[in-house]
């Protein structure tokens, strides 16, 4: 960081001399060092803890580095090993399924919820706030609440038993567990995206709705022909945000399936695999970095795909 070389004393000196300085001279003498001093802490932290780790992730992915062993260059060996690693394919499958399961729900349900809380009927601010509560809670709290709710002997199963469905092994079946985790993700995200949609809905011109109503369009028809086109760009934004977040899923599945992702690891997601492979004293940093590179590339591709879909829609 070039900025960190600025002597820290210059700040105090400048401050004390300011009153008698003439503005014109100050422009020349003070501004060259001062802006970098302002930006220095931010640039330093970003450089050391984001950009440097990013570069070293890419470099490490071509080495056999371990937590305690520096490692040497191995070319594409890590990536070749990925292709034969069943656990990698399980992780990629689960993370991809997660995107497919969660994103449609998070694009549509919060929009419907926003329509429900949009009108200013008495008490609506209370409902808006209440619906936001899951967003505020830590994912660990949320995960543990649902582990108890979905327990073999938990509330949901006793309610299912009363209505005659019988008990369901939400957390013991490999696929049901993944679906349950998706439901938890959707449950926690609803309020967040609802607020985004509320802002977008406020900007929909009411004349459009009125004109459609005069033409005899019912509520559902108006939703499809007026609301959806008006908030389309917001739907794309929500789709982009939620698909990137869904692909990187870690905590929900970690808490519900356990650190090893179920009995045979069948519920492991890619980020869980990164965490399991790369941390600890025996961590395979090089191999975990190769998986991290895959995570990065897929999130970038997801982002671009969603944004391209938006551009195609407009043309």
């Amino acid at each position: 960081m070039a900025s960190s070389t600025v002597p820290t004393g210059s700040r105090a000196r400048r401050g004390s001399r300011a009153p008698e300085d003439r503005p014109v001279r100050r422009v020349r003498r003070q501004l060259p060092s001062s802006p970098w001093l302002f930006a220095a802490p931010g640039l330093l932290i970003t450089g050391v803890f984001v950009l440097y780790p990013f570069v070293s992730t890419v470099i490490n992915s071509f080495t056999d580095r371990r937590t305690l062993i520096p490692g040497k260059f191995v070319g594409l060996a890590n990536f070749r090993e990925l292709l034969d690693d069943d656990m990698f394919w399980i992780g990629l499958r689960n993370s991809t399924l997660y995107v497919l399961g969660v994103v449609p729900a998070l694009v549509i349900l919060p929009l419907l919820l926003a329509l429900l809380v949009q009108k200013n009927i008495p008490g609506i601010t209370f409902f808006r706030s209440a619906f936001y509560t899951p967003v505020v809670a830590s994912i660990v709290v949320v995960g543990l609440i649902w582990v108890w709710l979905l327990d073999e002997r938990g509330l949901i199963n006793s309610l299912l038993e009363i209505i005659g469905v019988g008990r369901v092994g939400f957390l013991s079946d490999q696929w049901l567990l993944l679906v349950s985790a998706m439901a938890v993700t959707v449950w926690k995200g609803l309020g967040y995206y609802m607020i985004i949609y509320l802002a977008a809905l406020a900007n929909v011109p009411r004349e459009l709705h009125e004109a459609a109503a005069v033409d005899g369009a019912g509520a559902i028809r108006r939703f499809v022909t007026v609301t959806v086109p008006a908030v389309r760009s917001t739907m794309v934004l929500v789709g982009a945000l939620s698909s990137v977040a869904a692909f990187k899923v870690f905590s929900e599945v970690y808490l519900m399936a356990g650190p090893s992702g179920g009995p045979a690891g069948e519920d492991t997601t890619l980020v869980m695999l990164v965490q399991r492979t790369g941390t600890g004293l025996t961590g395979r940093v090089g191999y975990a970095s190769a998986i991290s590179v895959v995570v990065f590339v897929v999130t970038v591709v997801l982002m671009l795909l969603v944004l391209r879909a938006d551009r195609k829609d407009e043309s």
Binding site: V50, K119, Y132, V136, R206, K248
Partner: protein, 301 residues
């Protein structure tokens, strides 16, 4: 958040003057539609808040009360704080809460100071390399934390800061997103005021502290709240960087509690209530900024 702020003032007088309910366009809402809306609202309310209340109820049930009963009993028969005592005897839950508080407070201070300074430099100060600096923050914001977390861990080991609370705080202590939020807030201020101060002989620090920062308090509050919530709720990074149980934050402590005493539902429930209560209280007091943060963050993110 224009929805919440714009509509709030005119709602109350309208309700007081006339009993009938109108929508945001001043049209009357039919009674059956209104009833349907409230029914749906109550259903969603039960789905979103119900799980929290069930957890609270479980945590208040004593050792003799059946928590698995069918039909379930929603209210504890004899409410007791016994389980909260037990959590404190099982894990040092108050130490963990204090660790979380330290991490979250530090995160608030560093994010507010660091991103205000950097945001000001990007928005207002002229120097070579400003565009490069802006680009650095934009690129950094786009890198998903999960994809560099192993390298962050090895970096922390190189700095000999792994397994410390400082190590927990550092990577996100001046988030690029916050820097860019502050930059936009400063860009939205009229330039003329600062120009006048400049002509009057105020230097960059004086303009920053006396004019610019007081004008962006709202955005600063958003940064502070999301920094607090982010640090208090974070799970993956502290899980990786902390290995010594003495230094656990609440989320890691809860994970440990769940892993070791999974079958003791009352105990885990009491632990989760301790972890979530402070944030719900904070949210209840400062709702406006939570909602504003979503709007501003989403546009940038």
């Amino acid at each position: 958040m224009s929805v919440l702020e714009k509509t709030r003032p005119d709602r109350k007088p309208a309700a007081a003057r006339e009993p009938r309910v109108t929508d945001e366009h001043g049209r009357r809402i039919r009674v059956w539609e209104l009833a349907l809306r409230y029914v749906l609202l109550l259903v969603v309310l039960a789905l979103t808040v119900g799980p929290f209340l069930w957890q609270l109820s479980t945590s208040l049930k004593g050792p003799t009360e059946d928590i698995y009963s069918s039909p379930p009993s929603f209210l504890p028969g004899h409410p007791t704080l016994h389980n909260y005592e037990r959590v404190a005897n099982t894990i040092p839950v108050w130490d963990y809460a204090f660790n979380s508080l330290k991490v979250a407070t530090a995160n608030v201070v560093t994010n507010c100071v660091g991103s205000a300074l950097a945001g000001y430099a990007l928005a207002r100060l002229r120097y070579r390399g400003r565009r490069v600096a802006t680009l650095v923050f934009i690129l950094a914001m786009l890198v998903p934390v999960e994809s560099i977390i192993i390298a962050q861990f090895t970096t922390m080991r190189e700095l000999d800061l792994n397994n410390t609370l400082i190590g927990v705080v550092l990577p996100a202590c001046i988030a690029s997103m916050n820097v860019l939020l502050m930059r936009n807030a400063f860009l939205n201020l009229p330039y003329e005021i600062e120009e006048a101060a400049f002509v009057d002989g105020a230097n960059a620090w004086q303009r920053f502290l006396r004019i610019a920062v007081p004008s962006v308090k709202g955005t600063l509050a958003v940064v502070a709240i999301f920094a607090f919530m982010g640090a208090w709720d974070d799970f993956l990074w502290p899980l990786i960087v902390l290995s010594d149980p003495d230094k656990f934050t609440l989320t890691i402590g809860l994970n440990y509690l769940h892993g070791t005493f999974a079958n003791d539902e009352r105990l885990v429930a009491a632990g989760t209530v301790i972890a979530v209560a402070p944030l719900i209280a904070l949210f209840a007091c400062l709702q406006r900024y939570f909602f504003r943060g979503v709007g501003e963050g989403a546009v940038k993110g």
